[in-house]
C-alpha cells in the first residue's frame, strides 16, 4: 500500500472506509445506469410482428406500441388530401428471411400474400401525406397501436418495394 507511506496519521485510521466510499459510490452509479437501461428496454421495447402474430396476441396487445409488417393491397388504398387521412389494408407476410428465400424472394412473397384470400388482413389508418411507394404489393412496415375496433393506428409508415435492379443484376452481392 503505497498510500499509507505518506498519508497523514488520521487517514490510516480512515483508510478502509475511504476505499469503501469509492466502491459504494461507484456501485450506486453502476446500479443507476443498469436500472436506466433495464427500465428503458421494458418501457420502450417494441415487438416486431407479422399480422398473424399481432392478431394472435389478442387483447393484451391493444394500445401497446408495436411494429407490424404486411403486404399492401392496392384496391384498399384511400386517401383524402384535405384531411391527410390515409387508410389501406395489408395482408400477412412472413418475417422470416429463410421462408422468404424459399418462396422465391420478397417480391414473390408479397405478390402471393395479396392474392391469397385466406391470408389474415389488417386495416391500417395513418394521418399524413401519402408516400409515393405506397402501392399494390409493396411491403408496409407500420409503427403504432391496435385499436379496440381492430384497426391499426400507425404513427410511422415505412415502405419497401423490392427493386427491379436487385433482381436484374447478374449474380451480385446486393449490399450496395
Amino acid at each position: 500500500m503505497a498510500e499509507t507511506a505518506w498519508a497523514p496519521p488520521t487517514r490510516i485510521a480512515r483508510g478502509p472506509s475511504g476505499r469503501a466510499k469509492f466502491y459504494i459510490g461507484g456501485l450506486i452509479i453502476v446500479a443507476a445506469i443498469i436500472y436506466l437501461i433495464v427500465s428503458g428496454v421494458a418501457q420502450t421495447a417494441q415487438f416486431f410482428l407479422t399480422v398473424d402474430e399481432l392478431k394472435a396476441k389478442g387483447p393484451e396487445i391493444i394500445g401497446r406500441d408495436v411494429r407490424v409488417s404486411g403486404a399492401v393491397i392496392g384496391d384498399s388504398i384511400q386517401y383524402d388530401p384535405k384531411t391527410l387521412k390515409l387508410t389501406f389494408t395489408v395482408a400477412n407476410v412472413t418475417n422470416s428471411n429463410d421462408e422468404i428465400a424459399r418462396a422465391g424472394g420478397l417480391a414473390e412473397v408479397l405478390a402471393q400474400a395479396v392474392k391469397d384470400p385466406n391470408a389474415t388482413r389488417l386495416q391500417v389508418e395513418y394521418i399524413g401525406p401519402k408516400p409515393d411507394l405506397l402501392r399494390h404489393e409493396a411491403q408496409a412496415i407500420m409503427t403504432g397501436r391496435l385499436r379496440e375496433d381492430g384497426v391499426f393506428e400507425a404513427h410511422e409508415l415505412l415502405l419497401k418495394c423490392p427493386t427491379r435492379y436487385e433482381e436484374a443484376l447478374p449474380e451480385q452481392s446486393s449490399g450496395e
Binding site: M1, A2, E3, A7, G18, K21, F22, G25, G26, I29, V30, I33, L36, I37, G40, V41, Q43, T44, A45, Q46, F47, F48, L49, E53, R67, P81, K82, L84, N95, S96, N97, D98, G128, P129, K130, D132, T143, T163, Y165, L169, P170, E171, Q172, S173, G175, E176
Partner: protein, 690 residues
Amino acid sequence: MIADLGLWATVLAFACAVYAVAASLYGARRKQPVWVESARNAVVAILPLLTLAALTIIASLVRSDFHLAYVVNTSNRAMPTFLKVTALWGGQNGSLLFWSWLMSAFAFGVMLRKWERDRELMPYVIAVTMITQAFFIGLVLFFANPFAKYWELPSGDIVSAALPPAGALPFRAAEGNGLNPLLRHPGMIAHPPMLYLGFVGFTVPYAFAIAALLTGGYRSEAWIRTTRRWTLAAWLFLSLGLLLGGRWAYDVLGWGGYWGWDPVENAAFLPWLTGTAFLHSVMIQEKRGMLKVWNMVLIILTYCLVILGTFITRTGVISSVHAFARSEIGVPFFIFVGAALVGSVALLISRLEGLKSENHLDALLSREAAFLLNNLLFMGITLAVFWGTFFPIFSELFTGTKITVGPPFYNRVTGPQFAALVLLMGVGPLIAWRRASAKALGRLLWLPTASALLLAVLLVLLGVSIPGAVVGFAIAEFTAATTLSEFWRGARARQRSSGEPFLTALSRLIGRNRRRYGGYLIHLGVVLIAVGVVGSHFFQKESQATLGRGESMSVAGYIFVYEGFREIPPKPGDDLVRDIATVGLYRDGRRLATLYPQREFYQATQETLTPPALYGGRMGLEDIYLLLVGWEQAGLASASFKVYINPLVNFIWLGGVVFILGTLVAAWPNPAEERLLTPAAERRLALGEV
C-alpha cells in the same frame, strides 16, 4: 484493362502487408534491425500501390466502364464526373478499398515520423497495423472485390469475377444503376472519408498500446505521449464525421432531425464514446501513473468498435441475424474482431503485474475521482447504445421474436447520463488533483450555481414547463459559466503579472497552454451542442397540411402561402427531375422569404429525395424546415407540405465548429512539449529526474 493494373497493385500491397508482419516480428525476435527496416520499406510501399489501385477504380468510374460490376452498381453515365469520383466510397467494395488506402496513408505517416525515438516499439507497431491492413486488403481481394468484372459463361449465365472463368467472354452492361441519390449530397461526400479517417486513425494508438504490452514499454507512459496527437487526430476526424453525418441527415433525409439512433449512426458513435473516455483517462495516467490497465482496456475496446463500426456502417446488417449471416463479409469480420478482442485481452492479462498503479485515489473530492466518474458515465452511455443497437439480434437469437428499441429508449437512457457529463464537465476542471478542498471549490462554484438556478427560475416564470428542458438549459449555463470563468481568471492573472492588454493575455494564455485551453474550447463546443439538442428535442413543433393555390397554413406564428408549382425536366445527359413548390413565408404581416421545397426524382434509379427548404427564423434562433411531401397532378392543383420548427438547432452546428477549433488548438504542436519528448528527456522522465 486499367482495372487489372489496380487488381495486381492490390495483390502486391497485400503481399507487402503480409511480408511486413512476418519480417518485423522476425527482426524483433532475432534482434536483427535489418529485417525491421525491410518491413518498414514494405509498409511505405503500400501507400503508392493502393493509391494506384484506387486511381484505377476512379478511372473506370469516370470512363463508365460497365465491364466492372462495381462501376455498374454505383454509377451511371448521367452522373457528373465529381460524383463518379466519389462513388469510390459509395458502395461496399470500393469503400473497403478506400479504407485500406487511408490505413496505408496513416501507416506511411507513422513510419516516417520519429522512428528513432520509438525504435523498440516499432516492429510491433508495424505488425499490428499491417495485420489490420492485410485484413482489409484481404477483404477487398477475396470477399468484396471492386475489380470484379462481368463475364458471360458458355451456358449464357452472367457472373462477376476478378479473373475470367474458363471459356467465359467479357460482358459489358449497357448502363449503370447510378449512385444512390442519398449519397449525392455534399455532406455525404465528405462524411464517409472523415469517418473512415477517424476509424483508421485509432489503429495507431492501439498498435502502440499492443507494442508497449509486448515489449515492456507499458512500464512507462511513453506510448501515450507518442500517440497523443495521433489519437487526437483520429478523434478529430471521427467527431467531424459524426457532425457532418448529422448535418447531412438534417439536409437530406427530410424527417426534421439530425440524429435518429439508427444502428449505422450508433456504430460510428460507439468508438467515439470509448475514444473520448480514453482521451480523458490517459490524462490521469500521464499525471499520476494510475488506471494503466483501464486505459489499455479502453484503447482495445475502441479498436474493436472501430472494426465493428466499419462493418456495420458498410453493410447495415444489424437488423437481423439472417442478414448478418448472409453478408459475405460478415463471418471474416466477426472472426477478426473476436480474435483481436480475445488476443488483446489475453495479452493484457499476462502483463497485469507490470501495470500496477503507482498511486491510489486519495479523496472522493479530487480531479482523479472526477475523471473516474467521467469514465463511468462514458462507459454507461456506451453500454446503453451498444445494448440498444444489438438488442434486436439478441432478442431474435434468444427468444425467436424480434424486439427493437427506438429513439425513446436512447433518449431516456442516455439523456440523464449526458446531462450528468455536461455538469461534470463544468465542475471537473476546477477540482484540484489528489485532494480538493470543498471550501475552495465552493468559492469557484457559487456564482455559476447561483446564475444557473436563476436561469432555471426565469425559464419557469417564462412558462417553460418541461422539467428536462429547464434542467438541461440550467446545466448548460452552469458549465458555460465555469468554463468561461477559467479563461477569465487565467487571462486576468496573466494580465496582472505581465501588464499585457486583456486580449493579448488571453491569446497568449491559450497559446502557452494549448492542451488545457483547447480542451476547454472543446467543452464550450459541447455546451453549445447541448443547448441545441435540448432546444430542438423538447421544443420541436410540426404540422402538415394540403393547400390549394393561394391557401395558407400557420405554424408557430409563421404563415406559409402556397404560391406556385413547377417541374424542371432533366438537363441533357442527366436523369434528375425536380418538382418545386413556391411558398411565401410571412410573419406579423411581413414577407420574410420565398421558400422552394422540392422533390428530386432520379429517373434512372426511380428513387426520390425530399430535401427541405430551410429558413433561419428569429435571427437564426429557430430553423424553419419545410418539406414538399406530395401534390395532385390534376384537378385540385393542391400540394401537401410538412413543416418543422426546430428551435436552437443552429447551436449544434455552431458548437460543432467551436468543438473542432478546440481540438485543433489542443492538437497543435507545442515546441515546449516537443522538447520534453526528446530521447534524453524521456530517459530523465523514466528515471524520475523531472
